[in-house]
Assembly symmetry: C2
């Protein structure tokens, strides 16, 4: 079953763990997950779905669009991670109760939410599904770690190359990438927040990537002539995404 079929059958949750452990979910589990989520909600660019410190009684499945996890300090916003459709964005707060960070929409966004009481039931009665939920939050943690290393290692142009490479791969996992790049609602200022640079420096870094022929970012249209070159420049390896790579979840060894 391809991801497109999954979306037809499970319109709100069909992308959850696609390319990762979705193949490990039974149809019963997929159906149960789909039945847990509430009705579709939509938000516009810049909407802050959850603010740091809010008590959460439900968690959010991102159905369409793009979201940023952010933290604020001294009047500046810092991106700590991003989300694409199929991500169970704030499952964390089931365990944490209060979120330590904000969840911001970038561009038009469609979500569906799951009450925590339903997740608590899953914890009691569906240990396998519960373990997949846990896995999903651990994926976020692994991505955080990779990003920490890259922040410690890379200059701004390479950070951006890494971000582009990761967005592209993750969009592809949920069948939303193109052969030669991807589209994103991110603006230069958002990219700046994500890589911890000023928007001025980010602009120069993007010009760098364009001049080098590595990536051409023009108002959300990202064209990448040579994927291998982009990934090499940004020091990107997809292992931490736990798809079909060196770290993939295989039970046979």
């Amino acid at each position: 079953m391809t991801s497109s079929d999954e979306i037809v059958q499970y319109p709100k949750t069909g992308r959850f763990l696609a390319g990762r452990l979705r193949h490990d979910m039974s149809e019963g589990e997929k159906a149960e997950l789909e039945s847990l989520v509430g009705e579709i909600q939509t938000f516009g660019d810049g909407h802050r779905l959850i603010a740091r410190g809010d008590v959460c009684n439900c968690s959010t499945m991102l159905v369409e669009g793009f979201m940023l996890r952010t933290l604020e300090s001294e009047d500046r916003r810092y991106g700590v991670s991003f989300h694409v459709p199929g991500d169970f964005v704030d499952l964390h707060c089931f365990a944490l109760k209060r979120l330590d960070h904000n969840i911001d929409c970038v561009g038009p966004t469609t979500i569906a939410q799951v009450p925590h009481s339903a997740i608590a039931e899953i914890m009691k009665n569906r240990p396998h599904l519960a373990r997949l939920f846990w896995f999903s939050t651990m994926l976020d943690a692994a991505m955080h770690r990779e990003w920490i290393m890259k922040l410690e290692q890379l200059t701004a142009p390479k950070r951006i190359a890494h971000i582009f490479a990761e967005i592209w791969r993750r969009l592809e996992m949920v069948e939303l990438g193109f052969a030669d790049g991807f589209e994103t609602p991110l603006r230069q200022a958002d990219l700046a927040d994500m890589c911890g640079a000023t928007s001025i420096h980010t602009n120069r870094a993007l010009a760098d990537l364009r001049n080098k022929g590595i990536a051409d970012f023009q108002r959300g249209e990202v064209r990448i002539p040579d994927r291998e070159r982009l990934e090499r420049y940004g020091g990107f390896t997809p292992d931490h995404l736990y798809g079909d790579g060196a770290l993939s979840f295989r039970l046979d060894d």
Copy 2:
């Protein structure tokens, strides 16, 4: 019951979640956790307990000492987080199967391990304890996020101030801090790995902190004259540790 009493009664796991949700654990749960862990093992400085990509069949409780989570890239080691006694260091790999990062000992280290089969039983039969385990891994993720923001925001001296502030607080939570600072097996090169700077620059940053009277690091002895000043300089707030602060897990609101 103070943390010291807990250590007498539960010598291997008595510091788990101390200062956080330990108060939410029943004596039965504490006893069960203590019974799950195997015998004490010790390792010396620099020992790599788990290497990226290893298949893990057990997880590690850090009993005494200090550990770093690290990633390697282009022949350099990067610290992504650190661990103090009481941390369930690699509970992540119960969900991930293969760890994306290394677990390195710093200085002499004492651990005890729990087989994953035992954790799977907990998932089936003890949903509350399972949720605490999940919480513990989410704490790590929250600390990752805070560190991402600080890497994006701070210069090297301030990063080090932040690291010192966090180590001190976390040691205090498990009653291992002193009134005027703390001891750590970390060397300057380890600190450099942790903040993504060269050891030369780290050395200058430490000299800065010493000259400013903010923190005096001398071969693992860290003396801090004024905690408030250290925390202000490093932009440190303890909220993301989920102790008794703005984000603490309270069921009453």
